[in-house]
Symmetry: C2
Subunit: 288 residues, 2 copies
Amino acid sequence: MSYIKSLLIKPGHKVRLSKIDPDFTAGFKDDQSTQDKMAKHTARLRDLQYHLYAEGKQSLLICLQGLDGAGKDGTINHVLGAMNPQGTQVHGFKVPSKEEAAHDFLWRVHKVTPGKGTVTIFNRSHYEDVLVVRVHNLVPKSVWSQRYEMINEFERTLVSSGTRILKFYLHISPEEQLKRFAERLKDPARHWKISESDYSERQLWPEYTKAYEDCLSKTSTKHAPWYAIPSNNKWFRNLAVGKIVMETMREMKMKIPAPTIDIDDIERKYAAAVRSAKKMHRELNRID
Amino acid sequence: MSYIKSLLIKPGHKVRLSKIDPDFTAGFKDDQSTQDKMAKHTARLRDLQYHLYAEGKQSLLICLQGLDGAGKDGTINHVLGAMNPQGTQVHGFKVPSKEEAAHDFLWRVHKVTPGKGTVTIFNRSHYEDVLVVRVHNLVPKSVWSQRYEMINEFERTLVSSGTRILKFYLHISPEEQLKRFAERLKDPARHWKISESDYSERQLWPEYTKAYEDCLSKTSTKHAPWYAIPSNNKWFRNLAVGKIVMETMREMKMKIPAPTIDIDDIERKYAAAVRSAKKMHRELNRID
């Protein structure tokens, strides 16, 4: 579990993204050599989510953040796609609708937080309100700078009601981003995912870096930690996120509820009734 | 594709459930011999859902109905779990909340129908309002008997806006249900799923049979067909539902959108800007 710890942003720690190597793989070599581990994570995640669902007392919220091309969609598909869609939701946050914009920035987010027994993944999240909003000066500094504490308290509120929170920042290099954009453009199944704004946003890399550094530094808390995931290698990103989610869900120690009835008791009680229902059923069919 | 057609409830046809063999497997032998087919369905479903999502013009609504133990949860997990959770939602309908009960029976359903590009699975659905509601006399016949036409028109409204609808009735025998209840009770991971009401509901098997027969007869339409899936064998149920969903999504002929930008054009336009951003990024890091 040691490499996982090294990815955690320690609460109160001042993050410098330049110190985090996006090519880091914790000594793992490649996709092939980690496939067994990945398969184990997948099976374990499926089990754990079933336990969460069955227990119905806790929930898990996973926030995914990263620049365009960092691999948010891929992470959802590969790691979290392991779970049963029943009891799992993904919410994407795009430009707010008119109704959403008419409320505070946490309003649309709060509505879709996970209910007991479920896992919710945010593909982008309330953190955009201290990232894109800050970089593009959509609100003045006096507004966005107050949001870190609001977010911390909002998340504490969720945690106090039985929600566990995990936040992943997917870290890639500018070169890797450009490579991924080019790959998407050349792939007829994925070229629709890219637009000119992806390229113009690239020019703001330094501004986004500053905004992410402040965000991670100010909002990685004990109750809702950030992990910075080196993501130039997709297989390592999937491995690391899968392992962190798995370890976290293990710590949640879900318990399958006890049975509410006794089988022998039930069989005695309903045997006669069941026989008569079957008889009625047969008679009903004979009438035809 | 012939065995699929035999499972379709033809619009206007009067259904007799006693004529449908819950053990039917269309000549397929067992789980083992159909695993290759299942794997192909799974891969194909994943692709098709990606195309639906990418296109963003159509949606798919799948309604799952069946008595307790018929396999609704299992179908979602095995067949529809093949899809990416991003763009897929599952909604379960339980006893209506106070707010839901204060509205017409389609209100809570309408709110969660799939948006363009997405697949939504209803685990139980608006059909409970002509099934459990009828069997337990929760509203008078004069009320529930009018709902079939309301449902047909509601579904036509969804279809007219680009939603494709598939409805599956999972058909099991009373003996198979009892066997599954007993299995659940004996399995510590699943005994929580069963309660005394499951056994008391069994006594109403003939009433549910009548209610399902009317429901399937009156609401299998060209625009929103019902399929009756023989479900005593879980592997056949998964195979058949998977194939029907796959064939239906193929008919939807999704198209990946054309690219909005030209790669050479973009690279020329942004090469200088990107170089300068990288330079700024390096300088920013040097300042440390």
